[in-house]
């Protein structure tokens, strides 16, 4: 009898479980069939009335039924939960093409980026970064650079003077003289000097009364012009592309002898001639030369023991060439629409 009852309960329970349409109904079925006062418990309790032969058989069956129901409930539960989760996920669906909450970042100034790129290159080549004052003594701005007071290349009207002896530096070259003095006649001196400089120019598309310069200086025993050429070749390839070539043309600066201008092969046309290089295939990039013995001597270096090279370049010019920027004033107007374009520069 009990055996039949168990089998009947099993059928009822399984039907109940499979028809449960929610976790609540399932839980009710669980309580109903497996609860402490449930019918299977009842059967187990009444097993005492059975014979010794029947008892283990019915007991085993009761356990099997109980396990089966419990397993089915677990299965059904997992099934229902999965369905529920699926519904929840379906409900949580969003338009993933909507824009995210961006954290707006600012842009570095293009000139800062250019200067940093040059600095990093030269740090890698063993040059440190030196900076100097922007209000400079006439002596360091001119005289220590082999530009005595009456030198024709010097014109009071080109400079912003503060007193007869003080002016806004017109180039970063005075940092050369300061640095050499600091080294007290002992090389090597290897520095890059970036900074702001000032000239009495009216601001227009190609002139700015304030602009940036980067000066380089290397003084040691046996520094050669060929070394300058080598270093500048590395620079040109780094800044303007690996297939750039350079050429040095003789030029004149009072603080170098010999003096040269460096041209690079045009990065736009590769040297065939275009409007960037004005048809010549070459673009003038910077001035350089071997440090004039007078400059070495005035700053405490013995020119019979030491030689050196120096070069100076304009980050604005480099940027203008590289990106085709048509007006130098853009650098100082700080229009966000200009600056943002060079976020990655």
């Amino acid at each position: 009898m009990l055996k039949e009852k168990l089998l009947e309960l099993r059928e009822q329970a399984l039907a109940n479980i499979s028809s449960a349409n929610g976790l609540k109904a399932l839980q009710e079925a669980q309580i109903r069939f497996l609860g402490k006062k449930g019918p299977i418990t009842e059967v187990m309790k009444s097993m005492g009335k059975l014979s010794a032969e029947e008892r283990p058989v019915v007991g085993q069956l009761a356990n099997e039924v109980r396990k089966l129901i419990a397993a089915r409930i677990e299965e059904k539960k997992a099934d229902l939960e999965a369905k529920l989760l699926e519904m929840k996920l379906e409900h949580e669906k969003i338009d993933v093409t909507l824009p995210g909450r961006k954290i707006a970042t600012g842009s570095p100034h293009l000139l800062a980026s250019i200067i940093q790129e040059v600095e990093d290159l030269f740090i890698g080549l063993g040059f440190s970064i030196e900076e100097g004052p922007e209000v400079e003594q006439d002596y360091y701005n001119f005289e220590a650079l082999n530009l005595p007071k009456d030198h024709p290349a010097r014109d009071m009207q080109d400079s912003f003077y503060i007193t007869d002896e003080l002016l806004m530096r017109t180039h970063t070259s005075p940092v050369q003289a300061h640095t050499l003095e600091k080294h007290k006649g002992v090389g090597p001196v290897k520095v890059i000097c970036p900074g702001k400089v000032y000239r009495r120019d009216n601001d227009d598309a190609t002139h700015s009364h304030q602009f940036m310069q980067i000066e380089g200086l290397y003084v040691d025993h046996h520094v050669r012009l060929s070394d300058l050429k080598g270093i500048l070749t590395v620079f040109a390839k780094h800044m303007f592309g690996a297939d750039r070539e350079i050429r040095l043309r003789p030029s004149f600066f009072p603080f170098t002898e010999p003096s040269v201008e460096m041209d690079i092969s045009c990065f736009r046309c590769g040297g065939h001639g275009c409007n960037v290089c004005k048809g010549t295939g070459w673009i003038e990039i910077l001035g350089a030369g071997m440090v004039h013995p007078n400059v070495l001597r005035m700053s405490g270096f013995d020119p019979s023991e030491y030689t050196g090279f120096a070069f100076g370049m304009g980050p604005e010019r480099i940027a203008m060439l590289k990106y085709g920027i048509e007006d130098i004033r853009h650098f100082y107007t700080n229009d966000i629409r200009f600056l943002r374009q060079f976020n990655r520069a």
Partner: protein, 805 residues
Amino acid sequence: MLVSYKWLQDYVDLSGITPEELADKITNSGIEVEHIVYPGEGLKGIVVGKVESCEQHPEAEKLHLCQVDLGAESVQIVCGAPNVAAGQKVPVATVGARIANNVKIKRAKLRGEISNGMICSLDELGFDHNYVPKEYADGIYVFDDEVPVGADALPYLNLDDAILDLDILVNSAHCMNMIGVAYEVGAILDRPIKLKKPEVIESDQPASEKISISVDAGDKVSYYGARVLNSIKVAPSPRWMQLRLINAGVRPISNVVDVSNYVMLEYGQPLHTFDFDQFGSDHVLVRFAGDHEEITTLDGQLRKLTDEDLLITNGKKGVAVAGVMGGENTEVSRATENVLLEAAIFDPISIRKTAARLQLRSDASSRYEKGLDRNRVALAADRAAELLVRYAHATVLKGIVEVGERTVDEHQITMPWQKINQVLGADFTCEQIVGILRRLNFIVDVEDETMHVSVPARRFDVTIPEDLVEEVGRIYGYNHIPATLPEGTSSHASLTPYQKIRRRVEGLMNSMGLTQAYTYSLTSKENASFYVVNNQGVEPTQVVWPMSEEHAALRQSIVPQLINVAQYHLNRQMPDIKFYEIGKVFLPVKGEARPAEEEHLAGIITGKRTERNWEGESDAVDFFSVKGIVESLLDSLAVGDQIVYAPSKREGMHPGQTADILFKGEVIGYLGTLHPKVEKDYGLSETFVFELAIESLLHHGEADIKYHGLPRFPSTTRDIALVVKRTVAAADLDRVIRENGTPLLKSVRLFDVYEGSHVAPDEKSMAFSLVYFDPERTLTDEEVTIVHEKIVRACAEQLGAELRG
């Protein structure tokens, strides 16, 4: 310097070298050829014609009917020029020709008469009117007789020439004359140059009978020579000379003036000619002008001189400002018969100062300023005399009357020849080096390892061994020198601590949404005095001759410049901006002209916090936005906990929304809201700024990082809400809490501020989250409670705080 390719061929064989090739070679050897001008470019069909007859046009008073022989044919041409006449040889633009400005000549009918071409003026052939000789200025050009009829006219007008424009720098003054250019080109091409010594036919009468010279000018006049030329006939100079002058950018005037200009172009030596009959004495005295002494120069201007100016006088009054410009009183005119010709060497600096002060830079003064061949002065006088004999029928009196030495010794440079290889990094043989220097016409002797070089006076720019290094390098060509990497001690380099931190600051600013600006250091005096961090109200450092009021003073703060940047964007419908700048400010130092330079960081923000998007409009930035930027920055730089913010009042700032930023008790910056009046003046909406003396704060770089092991025991967090008077600052509560929480209290964070109906009107509630922690063990509730209660008590006693119920 305009160099005629045709003229240059007088001295150097240029065969096989086009003007373009020559220009390239000159440029690559050190003197930039800025451009080449072809004066005859575009001209076609211009021939030499002979006017056979010239009659009045029957219908037009101002026109002539000319029958012109063109060699192959004779045609009728109608000509309106007043100076046309039978027998003249003239340039004719034939039918089909092209004249200046690409005008095509067609057969035409003028008042009923056929015209088969046009007789040309120089203007019509493209000559710049400013250089056309006066005699041809208002009419056609007329050749002298030697020109073959029917021939192409262009070569006879030097319109087949090419003009190279050389950019002469300080070191290339030796190329400010044709002979100098010839030496240079000869060296570049490795071709010999041909120079003729002037031959002067002199009369027997010594010039010294007519003139004597004395110089009283210290060392400022190293040579003064004069020749006397009599019975001159002033007339136009010959065609060849006129055309050479025109192509060199000099207007022909008369034979006497033209010769002195021509010799200056050829030799580089400025010459001056006085009308000797107007000279007023038989004595030249060169001296300094007296202070306030006056002279009327050739251009009709009355010039006031100083005692620094060299003056040529007749012993009494001035007749020329030495080296700069002649006096009107002795100017050569059509009537001049006797001429005193001056060839002198004046001090370059003296001439430069005088020319600059009188604002009178002439071809002569610029040559004196840049320097000239000291040894060519008497030759130039001879060359002028030679030409004046030939072209002005002059009688040259015997000898040059002079003071000073005509020539000086050549400069000697002695050096080891190997130095050239050492400096260039090249591998020349001794023969190669000597060869290059000899191409430059330097005299070279080699003794073993030593080289003695004798440098001609024309190369006054070559004085030291390094100059010879350059000469060899540039003539040989730097392109042939190898590129090497330095062999010296390899050295390690890195940024200084401050340079490193500055880069971090830039990165942090960018990541917080601020874009970097670069503004001008020079600004208006008013701007330069505004928004200064410390020592407000100090006059800024100013430049002596500002170019404009806008850039007259050195900024003491960056904020005013950033306000301008904000205004710029607002005016262009870009109201939401965040900018920062790192740069120098210039702070006057008492008793010194030179300001202290300090690098500051400044920022400005205004507008919305973020862009409007699909979630709606964001709030506007406010005081706590700018403060948050500064705090985040200083926290990132590990100094945040040493900074104190104190309320402050600053000009131009909102009196209730401005804080000084203090580090170790010193004001190192400020932040806050712009004063509404300033916002109104600039048309800005609410705008927030900060400025920090970042260099003095961080010049040591960042503190070392100290590692702490991860906590092994849990911490305890307790919240506390305190009611205080509104006047009590958050920072005061924070301080009292911290002071009384040691050592277990590890952090304090304000998480709520409440003012309203649940507290008294003059009170506010502030809630803090306190974290207690001991690295060695787990804290018990009792231990925490003891400290916590101590904190509450201290807040009550010191700030009247009550626990909020």
